[in-house]
Amino acid sequence: MISIQNLTVAYGDHNVLNNISIGFQKGIIHGIVGLNGAGKTTFFNVLAKSLRPANGLLKLDDHLLAINDTAYLETVNYFYSNITGCEYLKIFKQTNPDFNLDVLQDYFKLPLNDLVENYSTGMKKKLALLSVLKQDKPVFILDEPFNGLDLEANKVLEIIITTLKQKARTVFISSHILEPLLTTCDQIHLLENGVFVKTFEKGDYGKIDDALFGKLKSQAKQAISNAL
């Protein structure tokens, strides 16, 4: 179990994550959804220990969640200048014994001998994903992993995420598009104003759209019809 107790993150006076206490089941895929500014990336940054919370405890089973427990794919991927994709991957020690770059390359088709500066957004995402997959960590945090990927790569990513689950890894994913989360996640958690307000099991996924956009739809419908 990944348990979070009284987690609060604030930027100045504004609490982005507001006294969150929640438990996440291990070995399954968790989707995190929320409107813009709900605190998804902040939550991931705290999980990955990129950001220190003002308050709160994060535990993996009986010990405090450590940097080494998580592999984090950020929304925007940054690479050092003047290095090739291949060199970038070599920076990371392979701790996942099953990681086979050649097999993954058949699907990703990255120009690994080119400078990363020449890569498109999708290629950069794939490269960052490869570096994450090279590591054997109990928790994988993927912030907007489907962004910038083509249809084929999207499907490959879904297969990768499912495989991670089969290997008993816990995966956290966020996405602007609900569709890939509905097909891959075992549970989807709705984050609203820095608080997890609801967890949806597979059977309840039909209710997510209303829970997420219900308020927006009712307000926007009238406003837009008046505006157009």
Partner: protein, 300 residues
């Protein structure tokens, strides 16, 4: 413009007098007349190269109003100090010819893909020493020129030391770019260990590169034995300072162009023997600052 000037750092001290000198040389060429077309051709070629290599072309063409005119104005402004003096000489008619060529350059919208220089560099420099790998590739030409000059003049008394010092100054610029969090966390080092590891890597590269030149220089100039013995620690102190300065203000993915100024001052200071303690003292001071800053990112 200001960002570009900040990025130049120590080079600015060389560039300003050099530009003044070039303007004077250009005037003399226009005055004589016969080489004026060659000079104008050189300016056109230079602007064409700039057009070829500039990375903001797509953005300018897509988002700026009248992009061709905008680019022409930039090239006209760039060539202005070197070309305007022809108007007061007998070669005055070359100025409108230059402008006519410059107006055509933005019509070439060719886009360049950055090529990989030294594809197998990672066989020599480990990718985990990412600053050295990236920096060597980025500054490959000046590094090669400076090192070749140092090698060529290694028998000469002070000259190779000057080239090597300049090489060290260039190496400090490798530590301007901050790596991402996954890179810095790779290896699971503690803040102090990470800093010491970076210092160790810098020491190895400097020793391997500089020792042969200094040995030959010492053999040829025995009176420089003490100077040559002190030279490597002096260079290392500049690099240690650069490393500690970078990590004292480390933020994932940041570009610390503001560090150019303290680096330039310390580098200049290290060239003067009585100012040598400055980089050493500053390295110690910034080591603790860097260690504290890195705790935010590396400690659980």
């Amino acid at each position: 413009m200001q960002r570009e000037l900040n990025g130049l750092g120590l080079y600015l001290l060389l560039i300003i007098p050099l530009t003044g000198f070039l303007i004077f040389v250009c005037f003399k060429i226009f005055e004589r007349g016969e080489s004026a077309p060659a000079l104008m051709a050189a300016l056109v070629c230079l602007c064409s190269l700039l057009q070829y290599y500039r990375t903001d072309k797509l953005f300018v063409y897509k988002h700026i109003d009248f992009p061709h005119l905008q680019m022409f104005a930039e090239y006209a402004a760039f060539t202005f100090p070197f070309s305007i003096s022809c108007l007061i000489t007998k070669s005055w008619y070359w100025y409108p010819v230059l402008l006519a060529f410059l107006i055509c350059i933005p019509l070439f919208t060719f886009n360049k893909q950055q090529r990989v220089i030294l594809k197998n560099l990672s066989a020599i420099i480990s990718p985990s020493n990412v600053e050295w790998l990236s920096g060597t590739r980025k500054h490959f030409i000046p590094i090669t020129v400076l090192y070749t000059l140092a090698l060529a003049f290694c028998w000469f008394n002070v000259l190779p030391l000057f080239f090597l010092w300049f090489l060290t100054v260039l190496a400090t610029s490798f530590f301007i770019e901050c790596e991402s969090l996954p890179i810095i966390r790779e290896g699971g080092r503690s803040p102090a260990n990470l800093l010491l590891h970076k210092a160790k890597v810098a020491s190895i590269y400097i020793l391997v590169l500089y020792s042969p030149i200094l040995v030959v220089n010492t053999i040829c100039n025995m009176e420089f034995l003490v100077v040559n013995l002190l030279f490597i620690p002096a260079q290392l102190s500049i690099l240690y300072f650069a490393i500690c300065l970078k990590y004292s203000g480390y933020k994932p993915n940041a570009y610390q162009s503001g560090n150019n100024i303290p680096l330039a001052i310390v580098s200049m200071g290290s060239a003067l023997p009585y100012l040598l303690p400055i980089p050493i003292i500053l390295s110690f001071f910034y080591f603790y600052k860097a260690e504290n800053n890195l705790k935010k990112y590396l400690n659980d």
